[in-house]
């Protein structure tokens, strides 16, 4: 088990809904190895995004344990979690969450700046080139299409060369050609740096490229299919 980078042990997530507590994740157990690519699939509302947040330390399990790179995320303070994410995790949100007052390049440079990287600006430019947005570097999010914003968000997640990439429907807004390009990009990162990919997706093409497809239904793992 030395190769396990992320493990979720009997994790539960209970949130306060309008009508009392709602159990969103009902005991998830999952071990993910280094460089593995895992596709999380399942019907809308089944808890995929919630699980992703849990793995990224953006949400705390109500019960159970989440361990990433040997750290028990539940034991870390919020600031320790933030520091831990630097370099360890890249996260692409379903609705991108770019900083609206910053240009594409500034958005991409941000995690590097936060981590104190001296060459943040140059690396951000290069990363934008890689996702094919070199010509959009000076544009603000509001001036870009959904697909372009998504690629910017991906560049922002990848630029720190994280050990783990968590992406929520990273090809959701892209046409086939762009979607394929983004997929290539993520998988190339895995090949080059050994990045572990955890991708929530509805796209069969993307799921098909993953080593492993985990199916979530109603907050539980309904199927865990190793295809490697």
């Amino acid at each position: 088990m030395a190769d396990t980078v992320l493990s979720v042990a009997d994790a539960r997530l209970v949130l306060d809904g309008g009508a009392g507590p709602v159990e969103i994740l009902r005991g998830i157990t999952l071990n993910i190895n280094r460089s593995e690519s895992v596709g999380l699939v399942g019907p809308s509302g089944s808890g995929k995004s919630s699980l992703l947040m849990l793995m990224g330390g953006l949400e705390r399990a109500s019960d159970g344990r989440v361990t990433a790179l040997g750290e028990d995320l539940g034991a870390l303070s919020e600031d320790a979690l933030a520091r831990f994410r630097r370099g360890a995790m890249g996260i692409v949100f379903q609705s991108f969450h770019l900083v609206p007052t910053m240009t594409a390049r500034e958005n991409v440079a941000l995690p590097l700046e936060i981590a104190g990287a001296p060459d943040a600006w140059e690396r951000a430019g290069a990363e934008l080139e890689t996702v094919g947005l070199g010509h959009r570097a000076g544009h603000y999010p509001a001036e870009m299409s959904g697909g372009e914003q998504q690629r910017t968000a991906l560049a922002r997640a990848l630029v720190t060369r994280p050990a783990i990439l968590l992406a929520d429907e990273p090809t959701g807004n892209l046409d086939q050609a762009n979607g394929a390009a983004v997929m290539d990009l993520m998988f190339r990162l895995r090949t080059e740096y050994g990045t572990t990919l955890i991708l929530v997706t509805h796209a069969p093409e993307l799921a098909a490229r993953c080593d492993r497809v985990v199916r979530i239904e109603d907050g539980r793992i309904a199927a865990d299919e190793d295809r490697a």
């Binding site: 919020e78 933030a82 379903q94 440079a109």
Partner: protein, 833 residues
């Protein structure tokens, strides 16, 4: 029901379920501004009504014939008596009341047996009389003064060298608006007692007044006309019960004009808050608007839908404001009435409430036209390409704003009756807004240029992005904050100016005493005796007469010079062989000059009146009209409290006119008591006015003004606070999202907080700079131009306000960032998905 109305009502029903959340700021700002203006208006109305209703009592009769420096001649007295049912003569003057070795300034009122024609004196004991007892005349002494001097009924004291017996403590006079005791508390004596003293010698500075009750059938208008004809050129001044105290009225009007304007400025600060609230509301409704547009609604229909909703809110806000304003005034009615020296009935009246409502409505219209104009530009395309609000509102909105602004300015001028001041204040507010908007753009551009500086420094980078990036949230905060701070800093400067005037910052060279009513024959002896006292360093004297400058180049002076203080009432006039001050233009009359009258005028005041060399100035002295040609201007410094006359005539022009001398005595504080004793004992008809004491009394008057100003400022403070909290709360969602994203990217909470604080501080600092500049400008304008008081920048308050303002913004931003920072990022980000 029209379509617009139906859609609007449906929208509002949905909005009400949210408890008017987005509109709390809008309603609060409107409410506070309207309440302030309504409250000021109600109090002023009460004072006006009080003056009107109590007119005859306050004046002491239906009408008053006043003379300065002399009593009416027998012929004049005869005419007055033949045109009245009853006449009462009073004389007022300053004098020294002496108990043993202690001498204090007092304001004497000598009355005849008919006094008071209206109302009654309140005395302790109540049935005391002024009649002579055992050859000693009686006196009623102001209660506070009597207590201070240890005078009890039966005790004796001197007044102008003559012995009087204290008969009662004077608790209140019917004919007083409380403004006439600037030169000391009152001592009431009988006219016949005063006649036996040297105090009424020719040239003494006293005022006589003949109050009359009309004969049945007579009316004031006719009598005033007859009197004007009868007393033409005699220096008689007429007052009647329709305006019993023009001074009080002017003071009230000025103060309330100022307070209304402060209220308006507060409303403008609120207006910027209302504008942002409206913009935010419209942005949140962008989808609804786009949908309506996609379904074929015209821009006009959409605008009407929103205008109806705003209209309902406005009516609600104004109603709440009127309720609050009226409620406060009614609740404080006893205190307000108690604070005024004459009876007023504080109550509700329609006019002030209506004008407060009008100002509220105009402000709303003015500040919502732009967001509404911009809204019309939201097209159906917004549905699939969410963009930013803002930008050009269209010419319609610009033209309408201009029209509303003109109406607002007109209403303000009408309400305050002070066109220049109103336009200056409104212009100042508008200029501050424009300046802030321009600075906002400038800062945006600057932040964009400086962005490379932020590279590698995420805290700075984020702050620069917030200021320079699209959306311009930072700029909106800057405008409302800047306007609020500008108003506060203006008030701060004015208040500090008033306070420094109160603190009697005596110029180093100020005299210790003014001596008045020195008989020319006593002058030499007085100077010798004073010079012999240790501690008296210098004494200056000048002859003094009092006159009214009533004509300039043959025309009524006020037509030429307007309401300048030099033309208001009577002024001291002197004559001299040689100039006391430096000439700035023209030349002095030669020694022994005996030609047509020549005059030398104070340079600054002359320039303000538009006078130039060769102009003819008409001055009425003792009923005699003297016309003199201005042959020189002098640099008169009124700030040192030394001898300074606006108008100096050549000696021959006033030859033979009875006059007295005034003197300034420069002495160490230790010498002040011996000077008072010397004058009290040996020169009983001379009155010594302690400069320190006089400044203290002026200070007390200014202190009440400054208190009112601070009270009005607190409204602006409250409105500013609401706007600030509103802005911080309004940005909470966006900030929470940003914080969550930054944390997902590895930023600690400290980093996030620092970035929020830095951007708030940057926006605040810019707002602060504008505020300091605006405040200094306003302070100078009000102190120097309006109040004729010296002004120097009060750096303390200026920086205090800026630091407090910036601190408040930073704290508000941090306070509203703390909650989202405490949440797990997923909670915030999930809501958006």
């Amino acid at each position: 029901m029209s379509l617009a109305l139906r859609i609007a009502l449906r929208e509002m029903r949905a909005g009400l379920r949210g408890g008017l959340r987005g509109f709390r700021v809008f309603l609060l700002c409107l409410m506070l501004g309207v309440a302030a203006i309504a409250a000021v208006g109600l109090v002023r109305e009460a004072i006006r009504q009080g003056l009107a209703e109590q007119g005859a009592t306050l004046l002491g009769g239906d009408a008053q014939y006043g003379f300065t420096y002399r009593r009416a001649t027998d012929a004049e007295r005869g005419w007055i008596a033949s045109h009245a049912a009853r006449v009462s003569e009073t004389i007022t003057m300053r004098s020294m009341i002496g108990v043993g070795d202690a001498f204090t300034l007092t304001q004497i009122k000598a009355v005849d047996a008919a006094y008071p024609l209206n109302g009654r004196l309140v005395l302790d004991p109540p049935d005391a009389v002024l009649d002579e007892k055992k050859g000693v005349p009686g006196a009623f002494v102001d209660g506070v003064l009597a207590d201070r001097l240890g005078l009890v009924p039966g005790a004796r004291f001197t007044l102008g060298g003559k012995t009087f017996e204290m008969r009662a403590r004077l608790l209140s006079e019917p004919d007083s608006t409380g403004r006439d005791t600037l030169f000391g508390p009152r001592t009431l004596v009988s006219l016949s007692a005063l006649e036996g003293t040297p105090m009424l010698a020719p040239g003494s500075l006293f005022d006589s007044a003949y109050r009359v009750q009309l004969r049945p059938g007579d009316d004031l208008v006719t009598l005033k006309r007859q009197a004007a004809a009868q007393f033409h050129g005699t220096g008689m001044n007429w007052t009647d019960s329709r305006r019993p105290s023009p001074g009080t009225e002017r003071f009230t009007d000025q103060l309330s004009a100022f307070l209304v304007l402060v209220g308006l400025a507060g409303l403008a600060v609120g207006g910027s808050g209302m504008s942002s609230a409206t913009s935010a509301w419209i942005s949140s409704k962008a989808e609804t608007i786009a949908t309506l547009r996609a379904l074929g609604a015209s821009a006009g229909l959409v605008r009407r839908v929103f205008a109806v909703q705003l209209g309902v809110l406005t009516v609600l806000g104004i109603a709440l404001g009127l309720l609050l304003g009226a409620g406060l005034v009614m609740a404080a009615a006893p205190q307000i009435a108690g604070a005024l020296p004459f009876p007023v009935a504080v109550g509700l009246s329609v006019r002030p409430l209506a004008s407060a409502a009008l100002f509220g409505a105009l402000t709303v219209v003015l500040f919502t036209l732009w967001p509404l104009g911009r809204m019309t530009r939201i097209g159906a395309a917004r549905l699939y390409r969410p963009g930013r609000a803002g930008g050009w509102p269209g010419w319609g909105a610009v033209v309408s704003s201009a029209v509303v602004l003109i109406v607002l300015a007109g209403a303000a001028c009408a309400e305050t009756g002070r066109t220049g001041l109103s336009l200056a204040v409104l212009g100042g507010v508008a200029a501050a807004l424009v300046l802030l908007a321009l600075m906002g753009r400038g800062i945006g551009a600057l932040a964009r240029r400086l962005r490379p500086l932020g590279r590698g420094r995420p805290v700075l980078h984020l702050a620069l992005a917030a200021l320079g990036g699209p959306g311009g949230e930072g700029r909106a905060v800057m405008i409302s904050l800047g306007l609020g701070l500008t108003v506060l800093s203006s008030i701060g400067q004015i208040e500090a100016g008033l306070r420094s005037a109160i603190r009697n910052d005596l110029p180093a060279v100020a005299p210790a005493f003014f001596l008045i009513d020195i008989l020319p024959d006593d002058r030499a002896a007085l100077l010798d005796r004073l010079a012999a006292l240790p501690g008296v360093t210098r004494t200056e004297t000048a002859p003094m007469l009092r006159g009214v400058i009533d004509r300039i180049n043959g025309r009524p002076a006020r037509e030429v010079g307007g309401d300048h203080w030099v033309l208001r009432g009577d002024r001291g006039v002197t004559f001299a062989e040689t100039p006391r001050e430096k000439l700035t233009a023209g030349s002095w009359w030669p020694a022994g000059y005996d030609g047509p009258p020549q005059a030398s005028f104070a340079a600054k005041e002359g320039a303000e009146l538009g006078l130039k060399l060769g102009d003819r100035i008409g001055v009425n002295i003792l009923g005699r009209e003297i016309e003199a040609t201005i042959t020189s201007f002098r640099d008169v410094d009124f700030s040192t409290a030394g001898i300074g006359f606006v108008l100096t005539l050549d000696p021959a022009a006033l030859a033979g006119a009875p006059h007295t001398e005034i003197a300034t005595v420069y002495a160490t504080p230790a010498a002040e008591a011996p000077v008072l004793r010397l004058i009290g004992h040996d020169f009983p008809n001379v009155t010594a006015i302690g400069v320190r004491g006089a400044l203290e009394r002026v200070g007390e008057a200014l202190a009440s003004v400054s208190k009112a100003v601070l009270l009005a400022a607190s409204v602006t403070l409250a409105v500013g606070f609401v706007v600030l909290i509103g802005a911080a709360a309004g940005g909470e969602g966006a900030r929470a999202r940003e914080a969550a994203v930054l944390r997902s990217l590895g930023a600690t909470r400290a980093t996030v907080l620092a970035s929020f604080a830095l951007r708030a501080a940057l926006a605040g600092a810019v707002a602060g700079i504008v505020a300091v500049a605006g405040g200094v400008l306003a302070g100078w304008a009000v102190m120097d131009r309006v109040m004729n008081l010296p002004y120097s920048i009060a750096w303390g308050p200026a920086f205090a306000i800026v630091v407090a303002g910036v601190g408040a913004v930073v704290l508000a931003q941090i306070a509203f960032a703390l909650r989202p920072l405490g949440l797990r990022p997923a909670r915030v980000l999930r809501e958006a998905e």
